[in-house]
């Protein structure tokens, strides 16, 4: 008998026993039997219901007429009018471009720079020095976006900022940073890199340290240089972790940090063409101009795009490695 038929038989038996015992292991029975475990789940379920599941119904606001913030359910259905309004403006294109564009750059930098630094830290001959560097790299992660926006002001302030004083000392013209949108793509990328690189480095460092030393020794015996060892042993061993991290970030592709895009540029109107993302747009439409319908439509657009990305990646991951799939 081939093993295949045996497993089918076993499966059939399992199915039978499952059907037979269904009555005894139904949800209610389980609820009574494991009462304590369900009670443990309860507080978490309540918080999730409030923070996550209840608001999901609110996505329907996007299809309703929402004149004021005061009424919960607005005044009747509005069909796709909110969306027509949203996509009728340039804003829809600008916020989509900015959101995706910045995220792609952040993902690329967040992959290459931390990996390079982690490998470098691991290579240092002075291990104590490596530890000190690592601690210093990690500091920016602890600072709030408000504090970081104060730090950015220290650099970019028109009159007193370090950068303008430096330009002046070099005999160049000052730049009015907060009214010069052409510089902000660079500024935002630099600030974001400054905040996150230390954190990402530590994530990769753990994997770099974990590479089996015997592989290097074997390679060294075969005459491989240290660079060749890193290129052919260390980097390939980081790929699985890198894939997971990139996938997580791609899943957040349509979300941006309000701290970076709203606080650091100080919500300056002139900068909106390059700092406006879906999140800042929703916030401004909702809180500042009180356009609930428009804000809801943009929020819906964001949620749907995000969901599509996640389901796509999940399907791809599932195809290659079932255990790593999220659903």
């Amino acid at each position: 008998m081939s093993s295949q038929t045996r497993t089918t038989q076993e499966l059939g038996q399992n199915k039978q026993t499952k059907v037979k015992s269904r009555k005894k292991t139904g949800f209610l029975h389980e609820l009574v039997k494991n009462k304590a475990l369900f009670i443990m789940l309860l507080p978490g379920l309540i918080v999730m219901a409030i923070n996550n599941y209840l608001p999901m119904f609110g996505l329907l606001f996007a299809f309703r007429k929402m004149d004021t913030v005061t009424k919960l359910f607005g005044s009747g259905w509005n069909g796709l009018n909110n969306f027509k309004y949203l996509f009728g403006t340039d804003a829809a294109w600008v916020i989509t471009r900015n959101t995706i564009g910045y995220n792609v750059i952040f993902i690329l930098i967040g992959l290459t720079l931390p990996v390079t630094i982690a490998i470098g830290l691991n290579e240092l001959r002075n291990k104590k020095g490596a530890k000190i560097y690592q601690s210093l790299f990690f500091i920016p992660y602890f600072l709030s976006w408000i504090v970081i926006s104060y730090l950015a002001w220290g650099f970019l302030s028109n009159e007193y900022g370090v950068v303008n004083r430096f330009l002046q000392a070099m005999g160049k013209e000052r730049v009015q940073w907060f009214t010069a949108p052409q510089y902000w793509p660079y500024i935002l990328v630099i600030v974001n890199t400054w905040k996150w690189t230390g954190y990402d480095t530590i994530v990769y460092l753990a994997a770099v340290v974990g590479v089996n030393k015997e592989l290097f020794e074997a390679a060294a015996v075969d005459g491989a240089s240290r660079f060749q060892q890193i290129w052919h042993i260390t980097i390939p061993s980081l790929i699985p972790l890198a894939i997971v991290l990139v996938l997580i970030r791609l899943g957040r592709m349509f979300y941006t940090d309000m701290g970076l895009f709203f606080t650091v540029p100080r919500n300056t109107g002139t900068l909106h063409p390059v700092t406006n993302t879906i999140d800042t747009y929703v916030y401004r439409a909702f809180v500042m101009t009180g356009d609930v319908g428009l804000a809801s439509a943009a929020g819906f657009y964001q949620a749907v795009l995000g969901l599509v990305v996640i389901l796509t990646f999940n399907a791809i991951v599932r195809k290659y490695d079932k255990d790593s799939a999220m659903i």
């Binding site: 923070n51 999901m56 560097y133 920016p140 007193y160 753990a206 964001q302």
Partner: protein, 301 residues
């Protein structure tokens, strides 16, 4: 033995010149990480006239404590901000930790039939959310949490990501046989959880507690949405307000009356120092747990 080891060690190390180059790169990077902080620190001790002459500098020629005198004069608002921040941070992270530790436990139990379902419920929240407007409606229109500190606490009470960290730790460190033995001894589920599981999970719990505390401490977005009363501002939001006020002022030129309330350049930087203070002091202690937590979360099991 020892003699053999020396050449092999050399084969798997970078050369001394390469080591020197890396050190130079890292030294510069480290300065880039710390420089903005040192700058703000220096500015907070700089004399106002010196600032208007030389701008912000790392080594001011004329020192002054006037910025901190301003802080001392406005101590009431700052103390209140601190109070709100500390209250929300302690209450939020403690309750949140308990809720997440509780939720993670049934998910870690192999014999719990619905663990996959409840796990799924949590994972969904990591990937999909209603967004700003619906959440605001639930908080303000249904729960009436506008101008309530509870809104700031509720926001970050439960994170599926941390639940996964705790659950993985339970799975790896609390053996099924230990739980079974306790059950045979007649211990109830709660007794097992509080007396056996929680003590074994201390490292993971400490890590999640740190992450959670940092999130509450640094929160400014929650107050931006849900707090309008001045006495409920937390520290970060107080700083946000000052910044926003200045941004508005630059739009409406020549409004001397409001200029009066605006803290000087140095005083604002002093506020930043006051807000960073406790975090930097806790930093060495925090760092250990954070590294552990990042490693736990980063390497997906």
């Amino acid at each position: 033995m020892a003699k053999q080891k020396v050449p092999s060690e050399a084969g798997i190390q970078i050369s001394k010149p390469a080591n020197a180059i890396w050190n130079v790169i890292f030294f510069i990077t480290a300065i880039m990480c710390v420089y903005p902080l040192l700058l703000v620190f220096a500015v907070s001790f700089t004399d106002e006239t010196q600032i208007s002459m030389a701008g912000y500098t790392l080594f001011p020629q004329k020192l002054s404590l006037s910025a901190y005198a301003y802080i001392a004069k406005n101590m009431a608002a700052i103390t209140r901000g601190y109070g709100v921040t500390i209250f929300v941070t302690i209450v939020g992270s403690a309750i949140g930790l308990l809720i997440m530790a509780l939720y993670a436990y049934p998910l870690s139990r192999e014999d719990f039939k619905y663990k996959a379902f409840f796990n799924f419920l949590a994972v969904v929240t990591m990937m999909f959310s209603g967004g700003l407007v619906p959440t605001y409606m639930v908080y303000v229109r249904i729960l009436h949490l506008k101008d309530s500190l509870f809104s700031l606490i509720l926001l970050y009470l439960f994170s599926a990501y941390y639940v996964m960290i705790i659950r993985t730790f339970y799975k790896q460190n609390v053996s099924t046989s230990l739980i079974e033995a306790a059950q045979i001894d007649g211990a109830g589920e709660f007794k097992i959880f509080f007396q056996i599981v929680l003590p074994l999970a201390k490292p993971a719990l400490a890590t999640v507690l740190m992450f959670s505390m940092l999130m509450y401490w640094n929160d400014w977005y929650g107050p931006l949405l849900y707090i309008t009363k001045k006495e409920l501002y937390n520290l970060q939001y107080l700083m946000y307000q000052i910044q926003a006020k200045i941004a508005n002022l630059s739009l409406i030129a020549n409004s001397p009356e409001s200029v009066k309330d605006i803290p000087s350049e140095a005083a604002r930087m002093a506020m930043a120092i006051v807000a960073i203070g406790p975090i930097i002091l806790c930093y060495p202690f925090f760092q250990r747990y954070f590294e552990k937590g990042i490693t736990l979360g980063g390497v997906k099991e």
